[in-house]
């Protein structure tokens, strides 16, 4: 059994090495497939990073009436933080709000003068809420509308919640994010399927060219496994070599992307590549080896029936 396996592996290896141009062609086609798979992983990472950036920019602010005490506001903050939809709640006191306003309008003389004439702080305290997912802002907003925990006697302490002003933008963003993710998935799936079909057909074509050789092996009295084995080993070697070529190709590509595209996609692709090198290599290796092995297995099987 061990001798048999050793012979199959040796024979497959020699086939791969001696087939020269045919092996190079198979490696190139398989490299294109693995390149597409890796590129799609990169695109997904970039897309997710961009979408996360957009998600981070969406928030809802709760404005409190001016006389509300800090203790009451912190009570609301603590209640909000307990909600499962809420990612974070940031408290801004009326003084901080005033300072931020002044900083923001430092060059706007007229606005600052108008503020001085008011002789006081017109801004109330706020709570800035970030949801775990943009689709959850509605339920957070409903929480304010339904809850009477935010009443101080007969007066409500909440001046307004700006969800309704932002609703159109939030809904549109939700639709864009969900659409982009779905489109990305479908697009990736189609590209992967096309690449797989091309690779499978290339290997099938190469084995088709060896059909007479397979016929001779049969007539010489070789068993199925002994005929099929070396072709599968060669297919696995094509996958292995392609995985190594692809992973090496992505080093300069990710460096270039890191230098040129970080601001645009919001993530340094070289850093991502470095940090996930091992996982990506395993994905390439497993994809290549399985694709090569299974394609060869399926391609040879039709020629070794009786």
């Amino acid at each position: 059994m061990l001798t048999h396996s050793k012979r199959i592996i040796r024979s497959g290896y020699k086939n791969f090495i001696r087939s020269g141009f045919t092996s190079v062609a198979s490696v190139l086609i398989m490299t294109i497939t693995l390149f597409v798979i890796t590129s799609l992983i990169f695109v997904q990472v970039a897309l997710n990073s961009s979408l996360n950036d957009i998600k981070e920019k969406v928030d809802v602010t709760v404005y409190f009436v001016q006389d509300t005490s800090e203790a009451d506001i912190l009570g609301v903050q603590s209640a909000l933080e307990k909600l499962p939809e809420v990612k974070s709640v940031t408290y801004t006191s009326s003084e901080e709000a005033l300072n931020q306003f002044k900083d923001k309008h430092a060059n706007d003389y007229l606005t600052l003068q108008a503020l001085d004439e008011l002789n006081g702080n017109p801004l109330g305290a706020t709570l800035n809420i970030k949801a775990k997912d943009p689709s959850q802002y509605e339920s957070i907003s409903n929480y304010f509308e339904n809850g009477d925990a935010f009443s101080k006697g007969t007066l409500t302490i909440i001046d307004k919640v700006d969800y309704h002003q932002n609703k159109i933008v939030i809904d549109r963003l939700n639709a864009i994010i969900s659409g982009a993710q779905k489109l990305g998935f479908v697009f990736s799936l189609i590209l992967i399927l096309i690449s797989l079909a091309i690779t499978f057909n290339t290997i099938r074509l190469i084995i088709y060219m060896s059909r007479e050789e397979i016929g001779v092996m049969r007539l010489v009295g070789a068993g199925k496994k002994y005929i099929q084995g070396p072709f599968i080993v060669s297919g696995v070697l094509v996958g292995l070599t392609s995985a190594i070529v692809t992973i090496l190709l992505f080093i300069p590509i990710s460096i270039w992307l890191g230098n040129q595209m970080t601001d645009f996609v919001g993530i340094n692709m070289f850093t991502y590549y470095k940090d996930n090198f091992f996982q990506l290599f395993i994905i390439m290796l497993v994809s290549g080896v399985l694709l090569g092995g299974i394609s060869s297995f399926l391609a040879v099987i039709r020629y070794i029936k009786k």
Partner: protein
């Protein structure tokens, strides 16, 4: 080409030539004997076993008892002469030691010892055919089927190939030779079965090429 009403038997150690024009059914007959094709009617027996009812495993075992030599050599292109012969032995599960002992011996027998590590494309037509014969005899088969083995060879190489087959036959191996080379048949002075339009028209003990 279809065969019709073809019935004959071959005893162990015989040298039988099957002759006929192109399209007479010679290749179809060899394919039936090798179970490469199944008959629509009739049976092919090898040592009282109907080879067309064999399972895949038994068919593989049957083929190990038969050596084949083709007109177009059908060598494994990515293997050296040594490896082509070794492949037949490896297929039958022979050990590495047996392979290392027997392959050089057979290469010597067909005068290819100095071409052991050449690939088929580096060999001449005659050398390729001698290599194909070496591959066919390495497993000591009970039967050798040579399908037009001289078809692609010049007269000198053709004669050499036939001489090798005769020597193998002298050692007790049954040979079935298909050919339309009249000089080969006349020189052999062995049994000749003549096919015409898929039928046997002559079966003579020491036949001549008469078509």
């Amino acid at each position: 080409m279809s065969l019709e009403d073809v019935t004959f038997s071959i005893t162990q150690g015989e040298f039988v030539s099957i002759v006929g024009h192109s399209g007479a059914g010679k290749t179809t007959l060899t394919k039936l004997i090798l179970a490469e094709e199944a008959p629509t009617e009739g049976t092919v027996f090898f040592e009282s076993t109907n080879i067309h009812t064999l399972s895949n495993r038994d068919l593989t075992n049957f083929r190990r008892k038969v050596g084949i030599v083709f007109q177009d050599f059908r060598l494994l292109p990515n293997r050296t002469a040594y490896e082509n012969i070794a492949f037949a032995m490896e297929s039958t599960g022979k050990s590495d030691i047996e392979i290392m002992e027997d392959v050089p011996h057979v290469l010597e027998l067909v005068d290819l010892a100095n071409r052991a590590f050449h690939f088929p494309h580096q060999l001449s037509g005659g050398e390729k055919q001698r290599l194909a014969i070496a591959r066919a005899i390495i497993t000591s088969p009970e039967l050798i089927i040579a399908d037009e083995p001289t078809g692609n060879l010049d007269p000198t190489n053709a004669k050499e190939v036939i001489n090798i087959l005769k020597k193998i036959n002298d050692l007790g191996t049954t040979i079935i030779l298909t050919t339309h080379n009249s000089s080969v048949i006349d020189q052999l002075k062995k049994r000749v079965i003549t096919l015409q339009d898929g039928r046997i028209i002559r079966d003579e003990k020491e036949g001549k090429y008469m078509i």
